[in-house]
Each structure stands twice: as structure tokens, then as C-alpha cells.
């Protein structure tokens, strides 16, 4: 071609420069940019959610506090066992007191017998003194002195019998008092035993309810923790899926670049290349700048497959 022909061809090519190319490029770039901005913002939000979940899980909500609560229950149980033990010790002391009172009651029986013995001795002595007085009377004058002694002995035996009876009455009074004390003590002991048993039962009931509440709280905390971890895993998985933005951005950026370059080449065409040659050169350039598998698959007209995460290649 001579110079005139070349100028005519290049003028023709410039005239045919597709005005849609820069328009498409700008539209695609806008979409790419908006998508990137949105994905980055979304990633930041998800990232913040993950950090908040991590903070919540790390703060030991229901986790680190659990052993403290269990130890607290054990301490309370031990303290209350000690209270019940102290009440039972008091009860035992009262039972010992009742046994002592019963043994004193046994002594009063003995005292009764001794008092009867005194009475019996007095009676027999009295009879002896009476016989001695009769014998003294039979002796006449010579028995007068003996009669005086016999009278004194009778008087003493009567006094002994009175003392025996007096002891019996006093022992009966003491015995009655001891019986009343024993009865009252046993009634109090019985009430105390009932009260201690009721307290024991109530305390065990309270502890059981406390343990059940703590267990429920603990289980709820465990469920919350499990759910939080599951949510975190889901969010993390979503973040992995958002990596598509990097691929689409690269694919779109390459398309935009290619469009801009083709348009620039069309505008600056000097006629040394035909439109077909220009297109072929740009196709070649695209082929050399692909970065992803799906770009190459698209180029070859192969249906691009989903890109799954792959293993590491170590060098």
C-alpha cells in the first residue's frame, strides 16, 4: 500500500473504533469497584463478628466460672453438713443427760430399799425393846434399870422408823422430780430430733435445688458456647467464600484493561495492521496475562468448573 492508501485505511480503522469499548470498560469497572468495596466492607463486618464471638468465648461466660460454682456448692454443702453435725452433737449431749437422769432414778430405788431397811430394823428393834421391857418387869426391882434402857431403845427405834419413812418420802419427791425432768427432757429431745431431721432434709433439698439450677445454668452456658462456636465457624466459612472477590476482581480488571488497550490501539491505528491482526494481537495478550484457571478455561471455550480450595505445594 502506498502512503495515501495507508492513511485511508488507518482513518477508516479510527472511524470504526468501537465507542462502546470505553463505555463497557467504565461500566464493568464501576461494577467491579462497587463489588470490591461491598465485599471488603462485608469481610470487615464478618471479621468484627468473629472477634466479638472470640471475645465472648474467651471471657469465660459460663465456662471459666463453672468450676467456681461447683466449688461453691461443695463449700456450702460442707458448711451446712457442719451445722447439721453441730445440731446432732447437741442432740447427743441431751440423750446422755437423759441417760444420767435415768441412772439417778435407779439410785432412788436403792435409796427406797435402804429406807425400808431402816424402817424394818427400827420395827425389829422396837419389838426387841418391848420384849426387853417385859423381861425387865418380870425381874422386878433388879430389872428397873434395864427397863429404862429398854424404853430408850424403843424410843430410838421409833425415831429410826420415822427417819426411814421420812427418807422414803423425800426419795419419792426426788424420784418424782427426776421422772418429770426425764419426761420433759425426752419430749424436748424428741422435738429436737424432729427439728434436726427436718433441717437436714430442708438443707439437702436446698442444696439439691441449687445444684440443679447450677447444672441448668451450666448446660445453658455450654449450649450457648457450642452455638457461638458454630456461628463463628459459619462466619469463618462465609469469609472463605468471600475470597471469590479477589478472583472476580482480577478477571474483570483484565477484561477492562484489555478493552481500554484495544480502544487505544484502535484510536492510534496507523494502518500497519488490519483489524483482524489487531484483534489477534489482543487475544494473544489476553492469553498471556491470565492468572486463573477459569480464565484459561473460558478462553478455550471450556465450561469453567467451580474452584475448590486446594492443597499446598511445597518446594
Amino acid at each position: 500500500m502506498n502512503d495515501v492508501d495507508v492513511q485511508e485505511v488507518s482513518a477508516s480503522q479510527r472511524a470504526q473504533a468501537n465507542p462502546l469499548l470505553p463505555l463497557w470498560a467504565r461500566q464493568i469497572e464501576t461494577a467491579r469497584s462497587q463489588s470490591e468495596t461491598a465485599i471488603v466492607a462485608l469481610t470487615a463486618r464478618f471479621s468484627a463478628i468473629v472477634e466479638r464471638i472470640d471475645a465472648a468465648l474467651g471471657s469465660g461466660q459460663g465456662g471459666a466460672g463453672q468450676p467456681d460454682r461447683v466449688a461453691g456448692i461443695r463449700r456450702s454443702e460442707s458448711d451446712l453438713e457442719q451445722v447439721i453435725g453441730a445440731l446432732k452433737a447437741i442432740q447427743q449431749s441431751r440423750n446422755q443427760l437423759a441417760a444420767e437422769i435415768r441412772s439417778i432414778g435407779a439410785y432412788t430405788e436403792e435409796l427406797h430399799k435402804l429406807a425400808s431397811e431402816v424402817d424394818s430394823i427400827g420395827f425389829r428393834t422396837n419389838m426387841l425393846a418391848l420384849n426387853a421391857a417385859i423381861e425387865a418387869a418380870h425381874a422386878g426391882e433388879s430389872g428397873k434399870g434395864f427397863a429404862v434402857v429398854a424404853a430408850e431403845v424403843r424410843s430410838l427405834s421409833n425415831a429410826a422408823r420415822e427417819t426411814g419413812k421420812h427418807i422414803t418420802r423425800k426419795v419419792s419427791v426426788i424420784n418424782d422430780a427426776l421422772v418429770r425432768i426425764g419426761t420433759t427432757n425426752e419430749q424436748v429431745a424428741s422435738r429436737d430430733e424432729a427439728a434436726v431431721n427436718a433441717a437436714d432434709e430442708q438443707i439437702r433439698g436446698v442444696l439439691a435445688r441449687f445444684a440443679a439450677s447450677t447444672r441448668e445454668l451450666s448446660e445453658a452456658a455450654d449450649r450457648a458456647r457450642t452455638e457461638s462456636r458454630a456461628i463463628k465457624d459459619e462466619v469463618c466459612e462465609s469469609l472463605v467464600q468471600l475470597q471469590f472477590q479477589d478472583r472476580t476482581s482480577q478477571i474483570l480488571a483484565q477484561v477492562i484493561g484489555s478493552m481500554q488497550k484495544l480502544h487505544a490501539d484502535q484510536l492510534s491505528a496507523d494502518g500497519s495492521q488490519s483489524a483482524a491482526e489487531l484483534a489477534e494481537r489482543h487475544v494473544e495478550a489476553m492469553l498471556n496475562t491470565y492468572t486463573t484457571t477459569e480464565q484459561r478455561q473460558n478462553h478455550d471455550g471450556v465450561q469453567s468448573a467451580d474452584i475448590a480450595p486446594q492443597e499446598v505445594t511445597f518446594f
Binding site: 470487615a44 469469609l239 492468572t291 505445594t313
Partner: protein, 122 residues
């Protein structure tokens, strides 16, 4: 003391995903948006491992990797390339430039963590 890792990637979402996983595993993370920024982060920081994208503006991953391997303090620092690039020729370039591993995006964080753990311990 936590090992320090530099992530160089122009995609904020990829930096975020990798950062969450690494911080969660106990690493300290420094981020850079391209190779040039990555080189600036090297100075004054004791970095134990680098994770770098390949296709980035200003200075790409292979260029960055070459600079790292020329740096007197980071010649032996392991570098993992984390990229959409699946071409064998690019992998060969990375290997020749001194990369220790190649992970193709999208990646599962656990796979990246396993590779980091293996190389940090080496």
C-alpha cells in the same frame, strides 16, 4: 513470644481471612497492600514468615520475593505464595525466586495454618 507474620496482598478481604486465622492461632500479623509496602514493613520488624500474593499493583509478588531474598536480614525467611495463579510456569518462577510453598486461592484457613506452622518450625 508470638511469631510475627507479614501478609502482603492487595485484596483486603484475603488479608482479613488470613489475618483472622493466623491471629486465632496465636501469631502476630502485619499487613501490606502490595510488594512495595511489604518491603517497607520488613525494616524495623522481626518477621518470621511472609505470605504474599503474586498479582499486585506497584510491585508484584515475584518481584517482592526477589527483593526479600536479596535482603540481608530476610534471606532465609520462609515465604508462602498465596495466589489465584495456578499456572505451572508461575509456580516455577516462584520456586526459582525462593518461595517455600504455593497456595492457590480460594484457600481453607486450616491448610494455610498447617503450612505456616510447618515452615515456621523448620
Amino acid at each position: 513470644m508470638a511469631k510475627r507474620i507479614l501478609i502482603v496482598d492487595d485484596s483486603a478481604s484475603v488479608r482479613t481471612v488470613a489475618g483472622i486465622a493466623l491471629r486465632g492461632a496465636g501469631y502476630e500479623v502485619i499487613e501490606a497492600g502490595n510488594g512495595q509496602e511489604g518491603l517497607q514493613r520488613l525494616d524495623g520488624s522481626k518477621i518470621h514468615l511472609i505470605i504474599s500474593d503474586v498479582n499486585m499493583p506497584v510491585l508484584d509478588g515475584i518481584g517482592f520475593l526477589k527483593e526479600v531474598k536479596a535482603h540481608p536480614d530476610y534471606r532465609f525467611t520462609p515465604v508462602i505464595m498465596l495466589t489465584t495463579e495456578a499456572g505451572e510456569d508461575k509456580k516455577a518462577q516462584g520456586k526459582a525466586a525462593g518461595a517455600k510453598a504455593w497456595i492457590i486461592k480460594p484457600f481453607q484457613p486450616q491448610i494455610m495454618l498447617d503450612a505456616v506452622s510447618k515452615l515456621v518450625m523448620a
